[in-house]
Subunit: 488 residues, 2 copies
Amino acid sequence: MHKLFEKTKSAYRPAYLLSQVSSLLGWDQETHMPKAGIKARSAQKEYIAGLCHKMSTASQFESALKELLVCQDLSKEEKCAANLWNRDFQKATKLPKSFVERWTATCSEAVHTWQIARENNDFKAFCPHLKTIFELSAERAEYLSYKDHLYDALLDEYEPDATSAQINMLFADLKPFLIDLTKQSASDPRPLPPGPYPVDAQMRYVADLMQEMGLEPHHTRLDMSAHPFCTTLAPTDVRMTTHVTKDTPIPNISAVMHEGGHCLYERGLPEQFAGTPLCDSISLGIHESQSRFWEVIIGQSRSFWEYAYPKLKETFPQLKDFSLDDFYKTLNRVQPSLIRVHADEVTYTLHIIMRYELEKDLLTKSLAPKDLPDAWNAKMQEYLGITPPSDAMGCLQDMHWACGNIGYFPTYALGNLYSAQFFAKFTNTYPDYSNRIASGDLRFITTWLKKQIHCHGRLYSAPELCKQVTGSPLTSTPYRQYLSIKYK
Amino acid sequence: MHKLFEKTKSAYRPAYLLSQVSSLLGWDQETHMPKAGIKARSAQKEYIAGLCHKMSTASQFESALKELLVCQDLSKEEKCAANLWNRDFQKATKLPKSFVERWTATCSEAVHTWQIARENNDFKAFCPHLKTIFELSAERAEYLSYKDHLYDALLDEYEPDATSAQINMLFADLKPFLIDLTKQSASDPRPLPPGPYPVDAQMRYVADLMQEMGLEPHHTRLDMSAHPFCTTLAPTDVRMTTHVTKDTPIPNISAVMHEGGHCLYERGLPEQFAGTPLCDSISLGIHESQSRFWEVIIGQSRSFWEYAYPKLKETFPQLKDFSLDDFYKTLNRVQPSLIRVHADEVTYTLHIIMRYELEKDLLTKSLAPKDLPDAWNAKMQEYLGITPPSDAMGCLQDMHWACGNIGYFPTYALGNLYSAQFFAKFTNTYPDYSNRIASGDLRFITTWLKKQIHCHGRLYSAPELCKQVTGSPLTSTPYRQYLSIKYK
């Protein structure tokens, strides 16, 4: 390792450790923290976020980085890390410390209020927080700067170099295709036999599944939270959560495979570069491609359930007379529905498209926060033909806006597109893939994804990686082909 | 609030928040952290400890404190806080930052090794860590300074102003009394009916008990860990752990009442002074007096079980034909035994006395770490007449030395003495106390302890508080009287 690289890494260490501590504060808040701890937690998070910001923009780091940037004899990886550090540094210095602290405290309290508001179906309680979040987001976008649209500054935080113009084009293409496909492929299969599907038995089933995917308890925890998520405390300490209901095991299994896909990406990053930007994910779109690959492409495939269904039947005796065919149809039931995280893969992206349109309008103030419930319900009617019976099942369902994650939703759609394009390459590489999966081999998928995608960390940009893995830039063709073959 | 007080409190805030973050890092490590996360956790803890030390000795805080110390128009509480801040500041500045970081990293790895060494009964694996801990402790004592004995510097960290000379005197008095009482009162009651006592049922029972003591889940969590402990993340976020075995519910109930006593103390501190030294406990001896009050004086009393035993019988059907009298006798069985945390109240302090003698010898190098198992076993034979069959059940049983807590053990004995002296006052105040407890009223105990002890925080020293509550300084008389009445 080059001396100057070592020096920069040392100077960056405080920010790295503080970001891990931040992750713990966030994980604990969502999983185990006693409710009354929220005010103190907000103060702790605000302070650590401010400190992390201070450390990642410290003059000691800046001067080491400056030296590194002009150094001529770095390896390819070191050169790349230097550029990424510089990119992140430029971004971080655009946000004043006082703004970062205000932002963190606002979001922390908003999340808390959102949880209660969702429970009580009380949009009015959450509305002032939503208003503040979007006002601060506009302020944030101005600090971060942008070329064409306010929204691009925020989108860039999750999907570097993507723009709302590109997303608009992609969605203009996808929206009619998906509305049409929804109408054509809507199905009404035999419903899953009624519960209870005991929580303990569900948790044993998904724990085994995690191991089969390559997620060892030695490195990876599973907990419960209102909204499933994955967070990384260190390359050797990755945590995910799920959400369990006794009525059906499917949302739990989906969440575990989804978050498991995220965790495998985090676990597969190049650990030898821990503490540098190389040991990090490329973008949320790429991250989401990994979770959707596991949750949907594998986890809702016939070959996977040829292997996994007998064990599910063993675990839940009420499935005894419910055939694999019935189960597969239920799992892949296409039907307009209210909750994004439970949506089928055909309607899913329509949920994303409406959120994208709404958050852009909220940001530019062409939609007032108080009018969100009406606007939400109107779009649900237009795209999916249904109207939520309550805000809890409508505009209060997602945590993202409460967390301040504006510009995040489109990355879910990009994830779907990337996953389908990676899958097309995967099936070319392994023509016998469905037999292998049906026989219970999941590890070769983990190995392929790690070798193709995870192990590079941030060495390539999302477009570069896509080209390297699949041979061509991202298009919506593989995704539409995949859906057409499966559903038409 | 005085302006200068406010200013000092603000300058102290970073150290306060970092100490809360430290508590979370420690709690998570002992309860939920995936095993492979240990190295990263050590780095995080080391960094935060160093930063906390830096912030609690920062020049901004120092200059605010200097102004505060000479200010003439402070309230009694503010004056007291200023003196405590000064005391803590003087102490903190004696330890160099590099030493604090080395210390934290050493202890973190030692704890990890100790856990595995205890599982594998492998003292040799732990021995090098123990050696380093005691060497660093001697170094620590020199930094902290002392008058008569190296040990006093360490003891003072847990029990301000106490000395080994005083402890020697107290123990010289107690040791023969306890050895004698053990012989006189050794009993062999009917054993508890065999298990399993299912873990889930135990956890429901102790959760109810916590609520009856006044520990609401809103503010207080219960988890499991190798060694039960209590930690405070904020006045509104207090956490305790227990250790559960299917064979008997008694250790779990004892641990929950013990740690529950600690938690009630933390919850009862004057929250209006949060972020100042006033909202803190006085000493470990006083802390332990609260846990032992609940665990032993209440939790092993006949009147408590008149109330609590019927519900225990309901929870565990195998107790159906086991009378309250049998249960009370089993609970208060006096018998020399190997494990301190399971020891009866007569032999308990003998376990403490031998640990105190051994750690003093390890510190002054009159005992070599490699000879600890032999020395341990010899004392067990001398005081209790038994020899451990393994180091796991001998000198590896406690976490304290691995944590670097040298000088901590005697505070357990002081806790017993204080608890008995407080109890004597309590029984004078409530002559009908046993009827009230037998009827299921526990909250009046919580209220009395809070009003007499908790709500003052650190406003009084331990000797001052003892005098104020009981009318006289600490002596061993109430403790010996209490034991004599119960066991002779």
